[in-house]
Point group: C2
Chain length 246, copies 2
Amino acid sequence: MIRLFVPHALAPDAGIALDEAQSRYLAAVMRQEVGDAVRVFNGRDGEWHAVLADVGKRSVRLHVQTCERPQTLGPDLDLVIALVKRGRLETIVEKAAELGCARIRPVITARTNADHTKVARLQAIAVEASEQTGRLDVPQVLEPVKLEAMLKTWDDRRLLFCDEAGDALPVLEVLRSEPAGPWAILIGPEGGFSPAEREALRAKPYAVPANLGPRILRADTAAISALTLWQAALGDWNPSRHVELS
Amino acid sequence: MIRLFVPHALAPDAGIALDEAQSRYLAAVMRQEVGDAVRVFNGRDGEWHAVLADVGKRSVRLHVQTCERPQTLGPDLDLVIALVKRGRLETIVEKAAELGCARIRPVITARTNADHTKVARLQAIAVEASEQTGRLDVPQVLEPVKLEAMLKTWDDRRLLFCDEAGDALPVLEVLRSEPAGPWAILIGPEGGFSPAEREALRAKPYAVPANLGPRILRADTAAISALTLWQAALGDWNPSRHVELS
């Protein structure tokens, strides 16, 4: 079943005029016709059954019918990720969406060698991955900021600091004694954090250092592994501990 | 420090003639010169410090000096992976090497739509990822076989069967009461296993069904997540339970 993320309000009998990109996707790529069914969600109103009411090459209208799943949100989990090469950053965004992340916050650190990324492109990848993975919301991709600036306005949520250079304990062991609730995961660039950054991070009361095993991981592997372990320990892969984003 | 996987025996004062690809990499890509140092490993003799003794564009000779790390092996863990699209299969092989897998066994299932892959290309990716990740061996990539045929000659090692369609318990919960030792992880194709395959797998005494959370995961995400959770529960990310491959 095709799933589409739309900006429109969803309610019984709502009519939706899809934008050109989604219209082309349905009409030209997926060859859908009047009467064919799709699912739509907007991050607020749950998932709805809709049928194609009018099909043009560049404009498709949907007729929204019944709510199939009430709105739920995943855990309140941010991924703070140092800018890495485009391909790996795109993989990370796709995987963060599949793994139930709420926000993706690119950061510039001492050893990143880029200071910008195409946020709109990353956001589009997050939308597509969310449609495919079955979630009812889409993670927000923020503009990159410097790590130092981000930490200055930090909201005190717990920060899982994946520290490959240190003597930290394994992630699962560390998370066993930590509370559920709002969290962030911090993944550094391929060259690691600078000594000054490590020292500053270690001094933050909200930072929880942890290690990701005995081998050197690429940034995309580290991000996926840390998201998985957090979800399995404190997130919605562990129904006994999960706290939903409110 | 550059690390190279070589087929040669490694011992004090050994001389090694690198093949053309590795010679070009050192001389032309990395611009190494006589006297520069590299590390070499072969999966048997540990990791050695070596220096470039002779540098031609297509032939570099190394002089092996001292052993820097004695040989260790990771856990006895196979990844059994249904054939998926080339790009995602290559990602899986890279990540399986980083995550300490011993063998990668592609399989053909009812819903795979390919019956072959370039094993030599996948093996080259496994070598490169192993050099980068710091391990002292390289996972072996086997020729694809049919799932049914593989199960007929199965050696009774435990098989973590990642079953998205079922009512299985979460991976971490399942592994908590399982023994360490030889294991395999089975990841299906994007369309999942057929009902007949699921029934056959569920009937095997060595199969351990488990789920990977509430969202639909692409095959590469599922493989990375399952490898991570296995390593954190029973592998070398959990020093209290890890059993080394012997």
